[in-house]
């Protein structure tokens, strides 16, 4: 029943996309990947700092605050291109286990980033505590899993 709705829903964007240009889907996919690079960079800078490497001369809270707008911007890009990608192959992807792993982990990662990680990063003077290191490691693990599951969607038939 749900799949039926997605079949009808998918038909229009797919045909529309293909009619505009055969380069449109690869283009959206590339934009998704570039968004991933940008998002990865914003996440890495803070997560590495939380783990005690990278830009260690900067206080964590100032760094996290400076990076945050870029995190939001790259997240917006990757989410919007992701929705477009989903729309173009919704039916196939709903039957792919990797997709579900990816979505679940992605939602968890976003929630985690905007709640616990943000709070831990904003604590003044908490730069080297164990909580900070664990938070940074957990963030990396969550996002890496989401990205890997996302890539694996492409390998599933």
């Amino acid at each position: 029943m749900i799949a039926g709705r997605f079949v009808a829903y998918e038909a229009t964007p797919t045909r529309l996309l293909a009619r505009i240009s055969p380069w449109l889907f690869p283009g959206i996919e590339s934009a998704h990947l570039l968004g991933l690079c940008a998002l990865g960079g914003t996440l890495l800078v803070v997560d590495l700092r939380m783990l005690g490497v990278g830009l260690t001369s900067q206080p964590l809270d100032a760094l996290a605050r400076a990076v945050h707008p870029w995190l939001e911007a790259s997240l917006a890009l990757i989410l919007s291109t992701g929705v477009l990608l989903f729309m173009s192959e919704a039916v196939r992807v709903l039957h792919t286990p990797s997709f579900w792993v990816k979505v679940a982990t992605l939602l968890l990662a976003i929630f985690y980033t905007f709640t616990m990680r943000r709070r831990v990063a904003a604590r003044p003077g908490g730069d080297t505590s164990r909580l900070t290191r664990v938070t940074g490691a957990a963030s990396l693990l969550l996002w890496l899993t989401a990205a890997a599951a996302g890539r694996w969607i492409g390998f599933s038939s």
């Binding site: 990947l33 570039l34 991933l36 690079c37 940008a38 998002l39 990865g40 960079g41 914003t42 996440l43 890495l44 800078v45 590495l48 990278g54 830009l55 260690t56 001369s57 900067q58 100032a62 760094l63 400076a66 990076v67 707008p69 870029w70 890496l144 990205a147 890997a148 890539r151 694996w152 390998f155």
Partner: protein, 125 residues
């Protein structure tokens, strides 16, 4: 011996065939290659936006070049290694791909930019 002849020889080796037909190895290698982009391009992008003066301007740029570039270099190293391995799976196909050739040319140009940046005439000398 032409490049194509060498690549055709490579494509016929047991290694290449095995990699090309692998169920998990090639996808895992490719995933590693793509995910490493986040380290390589991600840290490079952070450095670039700082150099452009649009982000984190209160942090000295030297902190970025000293502390973040090692990660960029490390990421690049992994990308080159995985990239070469991926190439060996279907060398002839990549040889004929115009997108692949464009990619290599753009990488060479980017490399020139990096070299210039670190040369005595560049910013980070």
């Amino acid at each position: 011996m032409s490049i194509l002849a060498v690549l055709e020889w490579l494509a016929a080796t047991r290694w290449s065939v095995a990699l090309h037909e692998s169920v998990y190895v090639w996808p895992l290698l490719e995933s590693l290659h793509v995910l490493c982009l986040t380290i390589f391009v991600g840290t490079a992008v952070m450095l670039d936006v700082r150099l452009l003066g649009v982000a984190m301007t209160r942090i000295p740029a030297s902190a970025f070049t000293q502390r973040l570039l090692p990660w960029t270099r490390g990421g690049f190293a992994i990308m080159v290694i995985t990239g070469v391995l991926l190439f060996t799976a279907t060398p002839v196909d990549y040889y004929h791909s115009s997108s692949f050739r464009i990619k290599l040319i753009l990488m060479a140009i980017a490399g020139c930019n990096v070299w210039f940046f670190h040369s005595p005439h560049g910013l980070e000398s």
